[in-house]
Assembly symmetry: C3
Homo-oligomer: 315 residues x 3
């Protein structure tokens, strides 16, 4: 699709016929991608963007770098949502290459494996599993019954994914129109899972809006955990039961999150941090190797002290 065609679809005039490959953020966009500026706190990122074009309010048009075309509009984020549909792949591919299945891999009955997918050797894909189109799975991985892996997602070797878990469902993203409609931002990214990862039953791990939701090697995830789009989990992170990570949470390596703890998203947690059960993280944690608890979150030892102070209110 050319930039001209894309612009026309949202009623913006533009005669540049450069071929566009997709959408991305200001910082991640390549020279064939279109980006957007909705919030002026990202003006610094705008200066560094390499994007082919940017959806932007007239007010900031003069800040757009020389090699990037300004697509001027009133509601950049809403227009991004509209454009996202143009780049959304089909829900299912009817045509394409048959999946490739490695040696000694067992595929049980009632499994669906999509076009262009490949599964390594020594894997077990159990009944009712759905492996979408263009999925890659490494060697010696077990996919338990009724697991769903959406299209374009990748899983490494030596992984175990327990029953009912969903990998690659759409992130929760939409733009509002002035008359109260929600316009879906198609989630055109994927999920990338490393090697030696175990994920419990009935979890939900969303695909990225752009690029990838990432789960590094050695991660352990318990049951009923929710991971929003574009999260990044470093090596060896541990998420216990019913943890919830809002979108774009970054956990550095060996972060441990206790049961029912959660993050507010768009934040980063330093390596070897421990969040106690029910802890609610709303800001980035920059110092490594500390333990935190409570909501609002404070250091764990201070939380214990605070609780004893609170208990004294009853006296």
């Amino acid at each position: 699709m050319t930039l001209q065609e894309i612009a026309q679809s949202i009623n913006i005039e533009c005669d540049n016929t450069k071929e566009i490959s997709g959408l991305s953020t200001l910082l991640d966009s390549t020279q064939t991608e279109v980006t957007f500026l909705e919030n002026k706190k990202y003006l610094n990122d705008l200066k560094k963007t390499k994007a082919a074009a940017v959806l932007i309010n007239e007010e900031f048009a003069n800040e757009v770098p020389e090699d990037t075309i300004a697509l001027i509009c009133d509601e950049p984020y809403l227009n991004l949502a509209k454009l996202s549909k143009l780049f959304a792949p089909e829900v299912i591919e009817i045509e394409g290459e048959k999946p490739v299945i490695g040696g000694f891999t067992k595929v049980m009955p009632n499994v669906y494996i999509g076009k262009g997918s490949s599964i390594g050797s020594d894997c077990t894909i159990m009944s009712g599993a759905y492996i979408g189109d263009n999925v890659k799975i490494g060697n010696n991985t077990v996919i338990h019954p009724n697991v769903v892996v959406y299209r374009d997602c990748n899983i490494g070797s030596d992984c175990i994914i327990h029953a009912g878990t969903v990998i690659g469902s759409d992130g929760f993203g939409f733009a509002n129109t002035k008359d109260g409609k929600y316009i879906k931002i198609y989630q055109n990214g994927n999920v990338e899972i490393g090697d030696d990862v175990e994920i419990g039953a009935n979890c939900a791990i969303d695909r990225a809006v752009f690029k990838s939701t990432e789960i590094a090697n050695g991660v352990r995830i318990d049951n009923l955990v929710h991971i929003g789009h574009n999260c990044k989990l470093g090596m060896g992170c541990i998420l216990t039961g019913q943890v919830g990570l809002s979108g774009s949470t970054i956990l550095n390596h060996y972060v441990i999150m206790g049961g029912q703890s959660a993050t507010a998203g768009h934040l980063e947690i330093a390596p070897f941090t421990t969040i106690a059960a029910r802890g609610g993280v709303t800001k980035s944690i920059t110092e490594a190797k500390k333990s935190w608890a409570g909501f609002p979150l404070i250091e764990h030892r201070r939380w214990l002290k605070l609780q004893s102070k609170i208990a004294k209110l009853l006296k």
Copy 2:
């Protein structure tokens, strides 16, 4: 079934042979339905009931309206539970009309579609999905893999239901016997979902005990959300990850609930209310357009202030 037969099944004498169509609440019952009074706080509703008959303690029998028959018993709610089984449909229909599938709708392998169901045009029903008996789905709706829609539930047009989500499971209802057994109240209602609704992965939305659990047009629901029986979600409501709504919660239009927030059930929340993450709603909210937080719930700005006061206890 006649009223006489129904009464006999729970050892109440009644010679009225009126045909009875089902069970319902005092206020919702029609002239062919049977209702019950367990708690005297509903005596006002009793006066307004149009029900054919009411299960009721002898103590309140003289309050029953003229056109309603009193079925006098010691444990009205327990007897209601026993009667609910009489009106429960089969779990699966073996006979009945083949489903009707609209034009350009793709049905993938390993899908089950029940008797008497109909799916509109341009839909995609993905592998492993279960569409029960007598389900209606509109046009251009995507049902992702391994979604389960129980019998008699309806989904509108332009909806997206993500993988693993369950729609129409039984609400959590039972009556206690004196010797500590729980008697199931069969959930003979359904779920009604409007148009342009997106529901995330691995959610659970219970069917109503009577009538319908309702989700209006434009609602957006994230992953791992629990919605109890007889909830009603108005237009444009947003439920983020791991929200839990207890039974009979009414959300008016454009209510937003943050991650892991919850309601206690049998309450109503005014339009354009925002509940912050982890907020726990235990009473109705009558004033529109306000933001709330905490558990117990208070106004969000007061919650922020309270937290800073609590933090001072540490000094």
Copy 3:
């Protein structure tokens, strides 16, 4: 497998050729099982063990009972993890007896039932359900669509398991190596569910590491509930939506847990206890018939009082 072979696999010398049947705890081990001591707080249990052998630090070797062989090593728990793989059954059995299905039981299309399993009479097994190898299900039980029952788990009579629920997934267990790898402790136990149990949609109930996760007769479980390995739920317990039980939680009979409440694991709750919504249980509750709330947990009436004291901080 002989004790000698087992010991060799983790580079411990031992020339005893006794046949070993499995692994277990100090107190539960039989004379053909191997156990471990990682934490000296269990030294009293060591004295009572009947195990064939115990993985143990040299420091405590002289405390090992006469009939038990000491397998001396630096990291007993890590070695237990390594041994657990030796006793893990196959994920799926390719050979074995065909399942036995009782009279009047309906098995819908796209159901998988494993080798050596048996299902009683008058059951309904709905589409997409996965019943693993060597599973026993009683009479008159309904398994809704896309339920997964892992191998070796048992379900009684008159049960209802709602759609998407997973029974018998692996408990969350692993040992750490010094260089930051997690070694899986294979969960070689199972789940035992009694009669007249109803479990909601999209729950996850983990199998035991040794022996059984147990759910007694008459239990009622709502949607999206997480039950860790080796939990024991007594008769008539009620778990409402989104409850989370960490591993080895013991609920005595008729314990009620409100929505989103949770336990920290390795604790016991007295009969007829009520935990209010969001209550977080971190210690055993020994006195029966009381109500508790909050996190940290206190008596419910004190919690109400505490909240009113806290509210006064705002004045």
